[in-house]
């Protein structure tokens, strides 16, 4: 298998549930080895259905999925042993111990018991001191980490994290991000779905946007922001304006509600951004500039604008 081969190949994948709801519409996607891919999308976009099909929990209506060149239906034993899944909900038993549930997961995926590996895994997840605790006694954050431990118990090469930081506090979210980075460094390919754009922005290599069962966009995070990202110039005025002077109307400026700030959106990749003549026009209009700053459009703004266009 060459390193250039994608680890997961999804071709013409569609899913229509028995109710008639079409959750996925002809999705094509290739996931590169060793990358962190973030799938963004609103609720009901089809993210969980996509993951569930790859993992074998939901049957596809049409299309094929290959993991490491193996078909997920015909070669399910091989593909499933390569995959780990952390589900969205905190679906754990109640009365088992942390250690026992990890042993169960490892065995279920056909791996021989390995106490050393599981011990190291629990230590990496800061759960070693909880190994004899029963699951229902754990906090929400710990349960989330146990789920990650269960997904990693059989040493998968692809890890699906379905909204791993939903309902998790900021500190734990940052811990989770560093854990994901460490996993990637160890060679695991990671696909995560999220509502949090900052999550994708912080850790993903590539970003895919799904809405209404369609993959709207897939690109390197930086390239995406480069392609779709606009910059905004914010000009703070020394004194408030009640309305924009007529001389400034060609620039399509936005005046803040307090009248103290003008915002100008421009494309930073153009040779003539329009900033220089704008500043000149402001001075010519007799306005005094107090401060100036620029801001890159965030992934969130790109995402919202894409989803709006699709709706």
């Amino acid at each position: 298998m060459g390193a250039m081969q994608p680890i997961v190949s999804i071709s013409n994948l569609s899913k229509t549930y028995a109710s008639g709801y079409q959750a996925l519409k002809n999705v094509n996607l290739e996931i590169r080895r060793g990358e962190i891919l973030a799938l963004l999308g609103p609720n009901g976009a089809g993210k969980t259905t996509l993951i569930s099909i790859i993992c074998g929990i939901v049957n596809a209506s049409t299309g094929t999925v290959k993991v490491d060149e193996y078909d997920i239906v015909r070669d399910y034993r091989i593909t499933r042993s390569l995959i780990g899944l952390v589900p969205q909900e905190l679906t754990l038993g109640a009365f088992e111990k942390v250690w026992d549930t990890l042993c169960f997961s490892r065995g279920l995926f056909g791996k021989k018991h390995d106490a050393n590996y599981l011990e190291q895994l629990l230590k990496d997840l800061s759960l070693w001191d909880k190994k004899d605790s029963i699951l229902m006694a754990l906090s929400g954050g710990m349960k989330r980490r146990v789920l990650i431990g269960k997904a990693l118990a059989h040493e998968p090469v692809v890890l699906f994290l379905d909204e791993p930081t939903a309902g998790v506090d900021v500190e734990l979210r940052k811990d989770m991000w560093s854990l994901v980075q460490r996993l990637r460094e160890s060679g695991v390919t990671i696909i995560l779905t999220t509502h949090y754009i900052e999550e994708a922005e912080a850790i993903a290599d590539r970003v895919g946007v799904i809405n209404k069962g369609e993959l709207l966009l897939l690109d390197d995070k930086q390239a995406l922001m480069h392609k779709l990202g606009k910059r905004q110039l914010h000009i703070e005025l020394a004194s408030a304006l009640s309305e924009l002077p007529a001389a400034l109307t060609p620039w399509a400026l936005e005046l803040s509600t307090d009248g103290c700030q003008l915002s100008f959106t421009y494309d930073p990749h153009k040779s003539h951004t329009g900033i220089d003549p704008l500043l000149q026009a402001i001075r010519d209009a007799g306005l005094s500039i107090k401060d100036v700053n620029t801001k890159q459009t965030s992934l969130e703004e790109i995402f919202v604008s894409l989803v709006k266009t699709n709706s």
């Binding site: 993992c55 091989i78 995959i83 589900p87 995926f109």
Partner: protein, 253 residues
């Protein structure tokens, strides 16, 4: 074959039984002992013999069957229903494991628990009545086949049930009446002729009859027929489970 998966499912299910030992083992033993006290000693003392066997001993196979059937069904149905209910079933569905392996793990554990309960009840019965088993090998064979068949049946109920009420519905409304009316406490020959014919439509009659024959060589129907009926029931259950897994019935969308 994913031997490790079968082993962990089996071990996990058995651990669950031993962690709730009072509910799993003590409860059926106590309720069966009560049957012995009430039917065997109090009422049975006034009944001479049934087909040459003392009444106290006569009801032992029927009582064992009563416990085996209800325990096999409840063990297996709960074993698969609970992960469905809590959502932890996702892990089994996403594991590299075939439906045969899932069955061996879950049904094997449920059948083992029922088998152990059967043996414990047999030992308990020995305290109340003198027992002689005419065909021990056949007794064990009937015991094993019944445990496996009804654990499979329980597994089907667990897959079918969407709530706790449905989980209890079949055992309470169907199985218990069939066992009570299947000759647990009497010989079919004690019924009026018309009811004897009706009783023959009750599949549990064949189970109890065959099992009782292995103890006392006394049977309501021929042993061959009893054995065939158990095997037919086993085959039907296997077919239903196979269909459920093939179609993903209430497991996969």
């Amino acid at each position: 074959m994913n031997i490790h998966a079968i082993r962990v499912i089996y071990k996990y299910e058995m651990m669950r039984a031993f962690e709730t030992i009072a509910q799993s083992f003590a409860s059926p033993v106590i309720s069966t002992s009560l049957y012995f006290v009430v039917f065997g000693s109090a009422i049975g003392a006034r009944i001479q013999t049934v087909e040459g066997v003392s009444y106290g001993a006569f009801i032992v196979p029927g009582l064992m069957m009563l416990a085996l059937l209800t325990q096999s069904i409840s063990n297996a149905s709960f074993g698969i229903f609970f992960p469905k209910f809590t959502g932890t079933i996702y892990e089994v569905l996403s594991a590299p494991i075939s439906f045969v392996e899932i069955l061996i793990g879950y049904v094997g554990a449920a059948a083992t628990k029922s088998f152990l309960i059967g043996l414990i009840i047999l030992a308990t019965a020995g305290f109340f009545v003198p027992l002689h088993i005419a065909h021990p090998v056949w007794m064990v064979a009937f015991l094993v086949l019944t445990c496996i068949s009804f654990s499979l049946f329980g597994f089907i109920i667990g897959l079918w049930a969407t709530d706790f009420e449905k989980l209890q519905l079949i055992p309470l409304l169907v199985i218990t009446p069939l066992v009570f009316l299947g000759g647990s406490f009497y010989s079919v020959s004690m019924l009026p002729p018309a009811w004897q014919t009706v009783t023959l439509f009750n599949p549990v009659v064949y189970l109890i009859s065959g099992f009782r024959w292995s103890f006392f060589e006394v049977a309501d129907v021929s042993v061959g027929l009893s054995l065939s009926m158990v095997l037919v029931f086993l085959g039907i259950c296997l077919l239903i489970v196979w269909w459920m897994f093939k179609t993903g019935y209430r497991l996969k969308q």
